[in-house]
Symmetry: C2
Subunit: 744 residues, 2 copies
C-alpha cells in the first residue's frame, strides 16, 4: 500500500510539473523571456483599479459629447492630460470635417388620419443626464440629404435587397413611395441606399420592439431595454464605399486638404432618411393596407403588419446645418527601446451620440486604465521593445472619421511602422468577443487562457468555451452540428467587417488588426440614445466594472506581448487554415447558387409559382434568370495549397530563429498583411484595398471575406467572379512569395 502511494505521488508530481499552469507556452517568447513577461503582467494587473474606471466614466459622460460639441473638446483635453500625467508623449491632432446637424425634422401621417411624430426622447426618473436637452443632439441620421417629400408609405421589413424581392412578388412597387423599415438585418446605412436604388423618395427607420424593445426585456427605466420613445441615432453615410470625412476621400482632412464639393460626395444619401421610435411608428404602420406582411417581417407591435402602399400617406421633411467642425484625436506614445519603428497601436473612440457611457466610454475607460498601468511599469525602469501608441478617436459615430483621417494623414508612416492595431469600443458583462486578423489567433487564445473571468473561477477562454458549448446544445440539441469550429485549443477569430475604428488600419492600410471586448450578459437597448448614461450602465452594463478590468487585462496583455516579444507573436498557419475554410465556403456558395438558379428556373418554366399562388391575392411570379456557369476555382485552390505549405515552413523557421535573425522575421511579419492589399481596391470601392476582409456592400457592418469573389457570386456576376478568383489568387501567390523570401 505504502509503495503504491509513493509511486502515485511521484507520478502526480511529475505530471503536475509537466502540465503546470504557471508556464504554458507563450508565442514569440523563449521560455526564459516568457517567465519575465509573466511577472511583468502580474505587476501590470496589480495596478488596475475599478474605481478609476467608474470615476472617469462619470466625468466623461457627465454631458453630451458628440463630435463638434464643447464637451467633446473638453473630454479630449481631459484624456490628453491623463496620458501626459502618466508620462506619455501626447498630442491632440485636429481635423476639420463635414458634420450635418438637424435644422428641421418633420414626420407626419397625413392620411388616412393625422398624426405628427414626436421625435423626442423624454427624461426619465433615475437617469441624471437624460434631461440635458439643450446639449443633446436630436434623433436623426447623419449624412441624410436634405429633402421634403410626401408619398404613400410602404413597409419594407429590414430594407435589404431580399426584402424588395418579396415586395415585388406581392406586387408592391416602392417607386415614388416613402419606405419605412425597421432597424436590424443590416447596418442602417444600407436601408436608405437600397430604398433609393428601388426608386423610393424617402426612408424612415424605426426600432421595432421585437428587435429592440419590450419583446426583449423590461424597458428603461424599469429594465435595460428601449422604451417606446427611445430611438436610434446613427450615421447613414455610405461607409461600404469609404468611411471618414465625406469631403476628403482617401486623404487626411487637415485644415488645408483639398476638398471635393458636397454635391460630389458619393457617401451622402440619395434620399432623406430619419429614425423614429416605436411609439412614433405605430400610427403609421397601423394604418397601412395592402398585403399582409410575411411572418418573418412581423415585429412585436400589437397590429397586423401590412406592406402597403398606403393608405398611410406620409410627409417627411428634413433640413440640416451642413457645418464644418473640428475633430480631436488624442495620440499618446511610449517609444520602444529596441524597435522604435515598430508600432503596437491601441485605440478606442471618445466621441458619443449623446452621453455615451456604454458607447464608447465603457471601452475608453478600460483603455485608459490599461495605459495607466503600462505607465506604472515604465516607472519601474521597464521599457517596451517596440513602440506603444494609444489613441482616443473623435468622430467615430459619424463614420470612423477621427481614425480614418488620422490613418490617411499618416498612411506612409503607418505602412512602414505599423505592426498591429488593437481596437475596442463598448464593453460589458459577459464573454470575450474577439475578431481580427487570423495571424493573431494563437496570441489571442493564449491571452484569453491567462485572463481570469471575473464571475467564475476559470479563465475567460474556458468561460467562452462553456458559453459556446451550452448555448448550442441548448438551442437545438445537436451540438455536433452547430459547434463553433475550434482548431484544437484555438479560438477562431471572427473576421472584421466594419463598425469601428479598425477599418482604416486593416482594410485601407494593411495593418493587422484586432477588435476586443466583453459582452452578452449586459443586454439592453440604450444604443445611440439619450439613455446611454452612467446611470443605465452602472445598473445594467457592468455595475462593478469588473469586466472593464478584465478588458484592460486582456488588451493590456495583447499590447505587452506584442511590444515585448522576441519575435512578433504572429502565426501564418492559422491564416492559411482560415483561407482554406473560406475557399470551401466559396465553392459551396457557388454550387448552391448554381443549383438554386436551376431549380428556380425549372419552377418558372413549369409555371409552378403561378399555379401555387392564391388567385385572390396579388402575386407576381419570378422570371427565369440566366443559368450560372461552373466557376474556375483552380487558381485559388493552387494558391491556397502553396500558402498552407509555405506558412508552416515560415512558422517553424520563425520559432527557431537565432537572436540575430529575429529582427528580420519581425520586419517580414509586420508587413505581410500589406501584401493582401491591392492599390486599386475592391470593385466599385477603391478605398477598400484589403482582398480578404471587407464590410459587405449590402450589409454595411457585416463582413464579407474574400469580398471580390463572394460578392460577385452573391450578385450573380459570373465573369466578375472568375476574374476576381484570378485576382485574389495572384494576391495570395504574392503573399506566398513574401513568406518564402522571409523564410530563406
Amino acid at each position: 500500500m505504502r509503495r503504491t502511494m509513493i509511486v502515485l505521488a511521484v507520478f502526480l508530481a511529475t505530471t503536475l510539473l509537466a502540465q503546470s499552469p504557471a508556464d504554458p507556452p507563450m508565442l514569440g517568447f523563449s521560455a526564459a523571456d516568457a517567465a519575465k513577461e509573466r511577472a511583468l503582467e502580474a505587476q501590470f494587473d496589480s495596478s488596475l483599479k475599478r474605481d478609476d474606471l467608474r470615476d472617469w466614466m462619470k466625468r466623461l459622460s457627465a454631458r453630451p459629447h458628440h463630435l463638434g460639441s464643447a464637451y467633446d473638446h473638453d473630454n479630449a483635453l481631459f484624456i490628453a492630460s491623463l496620458f501626459k500625467s502618466w508620462g506619455y508623449d501626447t498630442n491632440i491632432e485636429e481635423f476639420s470635417v463635414l458634420f450635418p446637424t438637424p435644422k428641421k425634422r418633420v414626420v407626419e401621417l397625413i392620411a388616412p388620419e393625422h398624426f405628427t411624430a414626436k421625435l423626442v426622447e423624454p427624461p426619465v426618473p433615475g437617469d441624471a443626464t437624460s434631461g440635458q436637452q439643450s446639449e443633446q443632439l436630436p434623433v436623426y441620421n447623419a449624412y441624410s440629404i436634405d429633402g421634403d417629400v410626401t408619398g404613400d408609405l410602404v413597409y419594407a421589413n429590414y430594407g435589404i435587397p431580399a426584402d424588395y424581392e418579396i415586395l415585388e412578388r406581392n406586387g408592391v412597387d416602392v417607386k415614388g413611395k416613402i419606405v419605412i423599415t425597421r432597424y436590424g438585418g443590416s447596418w442602417r446605412g444600407i436601408k436608405p441606399k437600397v430604398a433609393a436604388e428601388h426608386g423610393a423618395i424617402g426612408c424612415i427607420i424605426y426600432s421595432d420592439p421585437k428587435d429592440d424593445g419590450y419583446a426583449q426585456g423590461d424597458v428603461y427605466p424599469k429594465g435595460a431595454y428601449r422604451n417606446e420613445n427611445g430611438a436610434q441615432r446613427g450615421s447613414v453615410m455610405d461607409m461600404p464605399v469609404h468611411p471618414g470625412d465625406p469631403l476628403t476621400p482617401g486623404v487626411g482632412a487637415t485644415k488645408d486638404a483639398k476638398r471635393i464639393d458636397r454635391k460630389d460626395a458619393e457617401v451622402i444619401t440619395k434620399i432623406p432618411v430619419l429614425p423614429i421610435s416605436y411609439s412614433d411608428a405605430l400610427p403609421l404602420l397601423r394604418a397601412l393596407g395592402g398585403p399582409v406582411a410575411p411572418s418573418e417581417w412581423r415585429g412585436a407591435l400589437p397590429i397586423t403588419y401590412h406592406m402597403g402602399p398606403g393608405p398611410s400617406r406620409v410627409h417627411l421633411a428634413l433640413e440640416f446645418n451642413w457645418n464644418m467642425v473640428p475633430a480631436y484625436d488624442v495620440i499618446a506614445r511610449m517609444t520602444g527601446s529596441q524597435y522604435p519603428d515598430e508600432w503596437i497601436m491601441r485605440g478606442n473612440h471618445h466621441d458619443a451620440w449623446v452621453n455615451g457611457a456604454s458607447d464608447p466610454l465603457s471601452g475608453q475607460v478600460a483603455q485608459l486604465e490599461e495605459a495607466k498601468a503600462i505607465a506604472e511599469l515604465a516607472k519601474t525602469g521597464w521599457r517596451p521593445k517596440r513602440t506603444i501608441q494609444f489613441a482616443a478617436w473623435d468622430g467615430e459615430e459619424e463614420g470612423l472619421i477621427g481614425s480614418t483621417e488620422w490613418a490617411e494623414t499618416h498612411a506612409d508612416e503607418l505602412r512602414s511602422k505599423g505592426v498591429v492595431y488593437i481596437n475596442s469600443d463598448t464593453n460589458s458583462r459577459g464573454f470575450l468577443d474577439a475578431a481580427g486578423s487570423h495571424t493573431l489567433e494563437k496570441l489571442v487564445t493564449q491571452v484569453a487562457r491567462d485572463v481570469p473571468d471575473p464571475e467564475r473561477n476559470i479563465s475567460v477562454l474556458a468561460r467562452l468555451r462553456a458559453h459556446e458549448a451550452t448555448r448550442q446544445s441548448t438551442r437545438d440539441g445537436n451540438a455536433e452540428m452547430r459547434r463553433e469550429p475550434h482548431d484544437g485549443d484555438l479560438i477562431r477569430l471572427d473576421a472584421l467587417g466594419s463598425g469601428s475604428d479598425y477599418t482604416p488600419f486593416l482594410q485601407h492600410t494593411g495593418v493587422a488588426a484586432l477588435n476586443i471586448g466583453y459582452g452578452g450578459e449586459g443586454g439592453g437597448g440604450s444604443y445611440h440614445s439619450v439613455y446611454d448614461s452612467f446611470d443605465h450602465f452602472t445598473r445594467f452594463g457592468d455595475p462593478t466594472f469588473d469586466y472593464g478590468i478584465a478588458q484592460a487585462k486582456t488588451t493590456g496583455r495583447l499590447v505587452l506581448r506584442l511590444a515585448n516579444a522576441d519575435v512578433l507573436p504572429f502565426e501564418l498557419k492559422t491564416f492559411a487554415d482560415t483561407m482554406s475554410r473560406y475557399l470551401d465556403e466559396l465553392t459551396k456558395l457557388a454550387e448552391t447558387t448554381r443549383r438554386e438558379i436551376d431549380e428556380r428556373n425549372r419552377l418558372v418554366r413549369e409555371h409552378a409559382y403561378e399555379n401555387a399562388a392564391d388567385p385572390t391575392k396579388p402575386f407576381v411570379a419570378p422570371k427565369a434568370e440566366p443559368p450560372a456557369p461552373y466557376l474556375n476555382f483552380a487558381p485559388l485552390q493552387n494558391a491556397i495549397a502553396h500558402l498552407k505549405k509555405s506558412a508552416q515552413e515560415f512558422d517553424r523557421a520563425a520559432a527557431a530563429a537565432p537572436a540575430d535573425r529575429q529582427a528580420g522575421f519581425d520586419r517580414a511579419l509586420m508587413h505581410i498583411e500589406q501584401s493582401l492589399l491591392l492599390p486599386n481596391g475592391l470593385p466599385r470601392r477603391p478605398w477598400f484595398r484589403h482582398q480578404i476582409y471587407a464590410p459587405g456592400f449590402y450589409t454595411g457592418y457585416g463582413v464579407k471575406t474574400v469580398p471580390g469573389v463572394r460578392e460577385a457570386i452573391e450578385q450573380k456576376q459570373w465573369s466578375d467572379a472568375n476574374a476576381q478568383i484570378e485576382s485574389v489568387s495572384k494576391v495570395i501567390e504574392g503573399y506566398v512569395a513574401e513568406v518564402e523570401k522571409a523564410t530563406r
Copy 2:
C-alpha cells in the same frame, strides 16, 4: 418544311395517343372497367351543385348545435331525412354520454391588481349568428374537473414537457401554482395533463395573437383572424389514453351499457382548466415577474413576457353540470351488389362547438353532396359492387364520441366487414391535404390526378406539387434539402394521429383509413368560437363553395373506386416503403438521442452549464443522466426486409389475378391492416391497438409512428425500447405471414 411538319404532326399524335390523359391507369381496375368507371365519375360530377352546399350550410349553421342541444338533434333529423329522400337505408343511432357544461366560470387576477376576466365573445356587426347567446355554449374546456383554486401564476409557454425543462433551468417550480399556457405546440389536452404532472393546481389556456390573432392577419370582422375577445373552446379529455364517452371505455355507450363511476374515469383532467381570450390574458401576463421568458416563448402581446411565479396571483373557480346527454349518429347505407359484406365507409361529424359553419359543416355539406350524387347514379340502375355507408357523427368535439361509441358497439361487424373508413372534417380553399394508411397512397394519388383544381387549370395533384415545390424553394432557397419525399409520381400521405373520427376505425379496430380535405388559402381564426359562422365562412373560407365541390369529387371518386374496383385498390409496396422510412427515422432518433445524452453529460461533468450561466440570474444546471445504450434494431430490420419482398410479390399477384381469385385478394386486403394491431394495445393505453400509427402521448393530435418504439426512445426508456422493437417486429412478421398466405 412541309414534310417535317407532317412527321412532327404524326409524332405528336402518336405521343398524345400513348399519353392520353383520358386513360391513365387506375389501380384495381382492368382497362375496360377503368373506362366504365371514368364514365361513371363524369356522370357523378355532373350532378354536383354548389348551391346545395350553400343552402345546407346556411340551414345547419343557423343555430348553435353542440352535443345535447335541441338544434343538434334537429340537424341529425334533417340529415337523416336527406339520406332517406335519396334512397339510402338510413337510421339514427343514439348513445347516452357524459357531457359537462359550465355552471360557474371565474378567472380573477387578485394581485398585484384586480381584474376579472370577461370570458365572453360578444356579437360583431355583419355576423348574423354571433349574437345567439342564449343557445351558445360559453367558452370552456370540456372534461375539466371542478375546482376552486388560488395561486401565483407561472407562464409555461405551450405547456409541453420541454417547456417545464426550461422553467426548471430558470429555477421556476410550478408546484402549487396556476399555470398559464398558450394554445399551440400540442393538442390542448396535453397542457393541463403536463401541468398536473408537475404539481400545478390549475391551468389557463389562452390564444396568443402571435399564433392566433392580429399577428397573422386582420381580425374579425375586418378580417378572418381571432379578435381580442375570441377564445377557443375544446375538449381536454385525455384522448391519447382513449377517446369516446369517459364512462364506457372500450364499449358502446348504449342505454344499458355498464358504466364506470365518474371518479374512476381516467380521461377527466386532474386539475381545473379554462381557455380565455388574449384580452383576458393580457392583464395576467403583464403583471408577471420572474425571469424574462426565452425568445421562442414570446407571443405578440405588447409586453415583456416573464415566467413568474407571481406577483400575478389568480383565482380560478370552475363548476360543471355533469349531465348525461344523447348523441345522435346518422348512418346511411347503400348495399353492394357483389360484395355486400365489404363496407366502404365515409364519415364527417355534424355537431359543433357553436354554429360550426367551418367545423364541421364545410366538410359535412360536401359529404352530403357526394351522397346525393352517388344516389343519383343509383337511380340510373348502377349499383356499387361493395356496400357504401355514410355517417354523420355526433359528439366529435367532445372526444370523437359518436364515432367511437358506434365503432365500439359494432366492433365485431367492423372487423369482419370494414374495408376502409374515409373521414373528412373542415374544408376550405387551397390545397389537397390527404393523410392515412399507406396502402392507399397510389389510390389517393390517382384520384388527385383526376380532380381538376377549381382555381387553376391543372389537377389538384399538380397544384399540390406546385405548392410544395415553391413553398420550400421560397422558404429557404434550398429546395433539394426540404423537398417532400415523393416516390416518383406518388403523394406521400401523412400518417394519422388523432383529432377527428378516423381514430376509432384505424387505431382501435384496424380498418384502413383516410382523412381528406382542402385548405391553406382560407386562413382565419374562427376555430371553436362563436365566429365560426356562415357569414365568416362565406367571406373567408370558401365563398363560392368550389372547394366543397372539389372535396366531393375527391372523396366521391375514392368511394366509387373502392366500391367498384375489380380488386380493392390497395398497394402493399407503399406501406413497405413507408415502414422502411420509419425504420431509418427510428435508428437516427436513437443515435441522435444517444449522442445528445453523451454530449450533455460531458458538459455537466465539465460544469459548462454553471460556468456559462449569468450569476445575476437564477439558474439550475441540468444533472447528468444515464447514458443511452445502443439498441438492437436487427429484428425490425429483418422484418422490414421480409415485408418489402413479400409486399412486391403480393402486389404483382393481385394485379394479375384472374376473376375467380379476385374475391380472395379482396378478403386478404380488407383484413390486412388488422394484423398491425395487438389486442393489448400500446404501453399505458390498451385502447390504442395499432402498432404503427397513434396520437402521441404528449402531443395529443400529432402522430407518433411506430409509437411503442418511438415514444420509448423519446422518453429514454431503453429496455422498453428494445422490448417494443421485438414486439413490433413480430407484428410485422405476422403481417408478412398473412401477405404470403394470400399471395399463394
